[in-house]
Symmetry: C2
Subunit: 230 residues, 2 copies
C-alpha cells in the first residue's frame, strides 16, 4: 500500500471526513484490519482565506507546498489537498511537489466523463464559482463547466455563509437551489451539477436535484483509496 | 506556537477526538482563528495489538519510534501518543525520540496530584489493568495505583470488548462498575478512579461514580494545548 499524505485543516471537519472515509474505503477493499498508511499536515483555513482574499497565489502555493514537502519528509509517497479552494493552485503544486498529487478536480471530472456528459453546472462559494479551476480540469475531457448568473452566485454565497456553514438547512433555501439548477438545465443545458463546496451535500442530493449531483469529496476519497491500494 | 506531532490511528476515533479537542483548545486560548500547527502519523491499532499479544515491546517501541521520527522530519517540535496502551513503552520512547514527548500518564497523574490524593483505582482493558505503566508514572508523585480483583478484571474486559467497543451501554453493566468502584473504595481506599480506556467515559462519569473520575484523554489534550501554546 502506498503511504498517502493529506494536506488537511482547511477546514478541519473536511479532514475528519477524509480520514474516516479513507479508513472505511481501505477496510472495504483490503479487509477490516487493514488501515491506510497516512500522514496528515493540518493547516489553517484562515490562512488560505487570506491568501485568496489578497489574490496572493504565490503565497498560497508556497504555503501548501511547504506542507507537501513535510508530508514527503514523513515518508508520504503521494499527496492530496482536502479542500476544493486550494485546488486553485493544484497545477503549479503538481509541478513543484516532490511526490505525485491526486486531484479532487480530476476525480470529479472522471465521474462526469464516465456519465458521458458534455455540460455540467458548478455550485459553490462565490470564490469557487468565479474561479476557473474546475473548468480547466473538465476542459481536459472536453466537458464544459457553467455557473449561475452573478445575482444567483450572490444568493448561494449568502446561503453558504449564513446558513450551511452553521449547519442550518432551510426548506426555502433548498427550493431556491433546486430552481437555480432547473434554470441552468433549461438555459445552459447542464446534465449534472457539481456540489463544489463541502457544505452543499447537507442541502442537496440526487433525489432533490433535477440532475445528478457530483460530490467531489467522496469521489476524491474513492480515487485516493484506489490509488493507494492498487 | 510549537508544532505538535500526534501518533494517531491507534484507534482512529481517538485520533479524531484529539484532533477536534486540540483545535477547540487552541481556539479557546488563542482566539477562534488560531489553529494548532499539527502533523499526524496514522498507524494501526491491529499492529499495536499484535505487538502487545506477542509481548514484543521492542517491536512496539520501534513501530512507534518510526512514526515519531516521521513527525520530527515533518517539523514537529514535540509529540504525543493518542492511546493509553502505547504508553506501555513511553519511557523508552522518550529516551530515544528526537523531540520531547508529552505523556498522557503524567497529565493524568498531575490532575490526581492536584487533588491531593494518595491512592487511585485503575479501570481499563485487562491488558492495561495487568500492566504497570500507570502505576510507574503515578509512583513519581507518591500516588498508589490499584486495580480490581482478577475476577472483576475479567468482567470489565468482557464488558469493554462485547458492549462498550460497540457503543452499547447497559444499565446493569453501569451498576456493576459502580459496585466494583464502591468495593475498591471500601477495601483498597481509592479516592479517585482512572478511566483507563477510551470507551469507559461512555458508561461512567463523576455523577455516577462514588469517587471522582480521572479521564486521561481530555486531561492529555489539555496538557498538550498548554504545552504548544505556552
Amino acid at each position: 500500500m502506498r503511504k498517502l499524505g493529506l494536506v488537511g485543516g482547511t477546514g478541519p471537519e473536511a479532514t475528519v471526513l477524509y480520514y474516516r472515509g479513507l479508513i472505511a474505503g481501505v477496510a472495504k477493499i483490503k479487509g477490516p484490519e487493514a488501515l491506510p498508511k497516512l500522514s496528515i499536515e493540518s493547516l489553517s483555513p484562515f490562512e488560505v482565506f487570506e491568501f485568496c482574499a489578497a489574490h496572493d497565489l504565490t503565497g498560497l502555493t508556497d504555503y501548501l507546498l511547504d506542507a507537501i514537502n513535510n508530508l514527503a519528509a514523513a515518508g508520504a509517497e503521494c499527496a492530496a489537498l482536502t479542500a476544493g479552494t486550494t485546488h486553485l493552485v493544484f497545477d503549479e503544486l503538481a509541478t513543484r511537489a516532490p511526490i505525485p498529487l491526486v486531484s479532487m478536480l480530476d476525480a470529479t471530472r472522471n465521474e462526469a466523463q464516465a456519465g458521458g456528459v458534455s455540460t455540467v453546472g458548478l455550485l459553490g462559494t462565490a470564490f469557487t464559482m468565479n474561479s476557473d479551476f474546475f473548468a480547466r480540469s473538465f476542459a481536459k475531457a472536453g466537458i464544459k463547466v457553467v455557473v449561475p448568473s452573478a445575482e444567483k452566485i450572490a444568493v448561494i454565497q449568502k446561503m453558504i455563509a449564513t446558513e450551511l456553514e452553521h449547519g442550518i438547512v432551510k426548506e426555502v433555501s433548498q427550493q431556491q437551489l433546486v430552481s437555480i439548477i432547473k434554470e441552468m438545465v433549461a438555459e445552459q443545458g447542464i446534465e449534472q451539477v457539481i456540489l463544489g463546496c463541502t457544505e452543499l451535500p447537507l442541502i442537496l442530493n440526487d433525489t432533490l436535484s433535477p440532475v445528478p449531483c457530483l460530490d467531489p469529496v467522496p469521489l476524491h476519497i474513492s480515487a485516493l483509496v484506489n490509488y493507494i491500494t492498487s
